[in-house]
């Protein structure tokens, strides 16, 4: 699965290795991203986060499972080349589709630019395969 953000220039490509978006605890979630149309000097930092968040009636909560930061000052980092990432999916919280509460998981990529608004792109995925709640 991949998400492409931006028009022709700049372009951010974020992709998960698996086509199916359902993961289970202990699975390996891996993928890659690359950024086209931006010079190294235009980028301040790139943050990649695997996180869950809540939606619904209550104030939204969120929690970070894993986060990476890529800095242009790091010589090994070339944003035009695919940057790999990988993590083990945790046991909780499971993705949940309730009545007044929903729990969602996503891989979020944030490209922080110098003097310009950040570019954010996300690839949602599901932890577990619980069906949506149906009221009794």
């Amino acid at each position: 699965m991949s998400i492409v953000a931006g028009d022709s220039i700049p372009t951010v490509i974020l992709r998960l290795d698996r086509d199916r978006s359902v993961y289970f605890p202990g699975d390996t979630l891996s993928g890659e991203f690359r950024i086209e149309g931006l010079s190294r000097t235009a980028i301040e930092a790139v943050e990649l986060t695997v996180l869950w968040f809540t939606e619904g009636k209550g104030t939204s909560d969120r929690g970070v499972h894993t986060a990476w930061q890529f800095l242009p000052s790091d010589r090994a980092f070339d944003p035009r080349r695919p940057q790999r990432f990988s993590t083990i999916v945790p046991r909780a919280p499971w993705s949940y589709e309730g009545i007044i509460l929903k729990i969602r998981w996503t891989v979020r990529l944030r490209v922080i630019l110098r003097g310009m608004p950040s570019i954010v792109c996300e690839v949602p995925f599901r932890l577990g395969d619980l069906p949506p709640v149906a009221l009794p």
Binding site: F24, W68, F70, A92
Partner: protein
Amino acid sequence: MNRPRAWLFFLQKKRGTHRTIPPTLAFWGELGIFCLILIAGVLGVLTLVARIFVPYWRAVKDFRPQFAVVRSARVVEHQFPEGLLFRPEILVSFQAAGREYATWAYNPQSPLGDGYLPDRRSAERVLSHFQEGQGCIIHYDPKDPSQAFLFRDLPWWTWVILFVPVSLVILGMTGIVMVLQAGKEQTFLGRMVLSGGRPALPEANASDLWPTVPRPLSPPDSPGVRLPIRLPLLPTQWGHLLGWLLVCLLWNGVAVTLFAWALTILSLSRGDWSFLAFTSVLVGGGAFWTGALVRQAAREWRIGPTIVEISEQPLLPGSRYQIYLAQLGKLRVNRLTVYLVCEERAIFREGTETRRESRQVARFRLFRREAFEVHAGVPFEAFFDFQLPFQVMHSFRSPHNEIAWMIVVENVVVGLPPMKRYFPVVVYPPHSGKVSA
């Protein structure tokens, strides 16, 4: 339709959206209101202490009682910024340290301070108790016997009046603590440690997300008698009842104080009947509230305790568990039903208010028994088991959202409305990966 300008935030709709003003503004607004309440309470306490309790304390500590003879009486008028006030004074003669003294004495204990009263009629009513040539007890200063006062014991209503500012202090402090606690709530769980191109959290620590799953009680925490774990009763019954009784006591304290105040004002002068009527409504409301709470407490007492024990915790989807149920008391039960219930709970802000909402999303009936009697000293007991379905959500808790599982015991007793008791349990995510039905 034109939208209100951003700077007219106070004209924006207050209901219908989760948040209509910035949270920072809401936080400081709430904090300011409770600080004002606290300050009002503290000022009230200090005023009462300075005007009533300190003079009394000084009388006990520094002044000596002495028999004196009333020689004359007068009402002293004094123009204060808030208006003309009146102080009843009597001329007394007494002997101290072998000398004869004559001085104007007055009672410094009054709500307006320094013995002043709001009208001449009240002052004259005080003086009517002193006849010329009559004896009375005064308190004089041994260092300066020309200083003499007519102290009295503290009247009962001073303690009742103290209830009002003390209630404000409690309300203000409680509010401040609640606002500060709400402000501390973290909306960002987990650790965000960033590093160059490597996972910020080592894989071994991926279980840092476990804080979102509540910890269950283990057998040593709460051992059962028939089964390993006795489940705690949610404080919805006695806890809430005690909380409401406290609030009710405060309400009645304030209401009775205001009512006594209204009566005092009415007896001292022509007074205000509308104020008395208003305070009567407050007292009536308090009496009705007290009655309802007492009835609720009596109902709880009559039904008696309910005990629920379970073979194991946490619960895992697809696993079987045994339950022990005991109902004590002396009652005729029409129907007793035990459910396993899952509830979604959410906390959100509407304007400056924090609201809670819950929704039951799953309910499984575990046990049902109809038409039986429970005798005093012989509890009704039942063992039964159940299997938790495979595809259910685990318990979850974050600062503003929760998925809670509980065992609900519903008693329908002859002559009483249905009574529910809640025993929380914790459901863990399944051990293995994929769950199958």
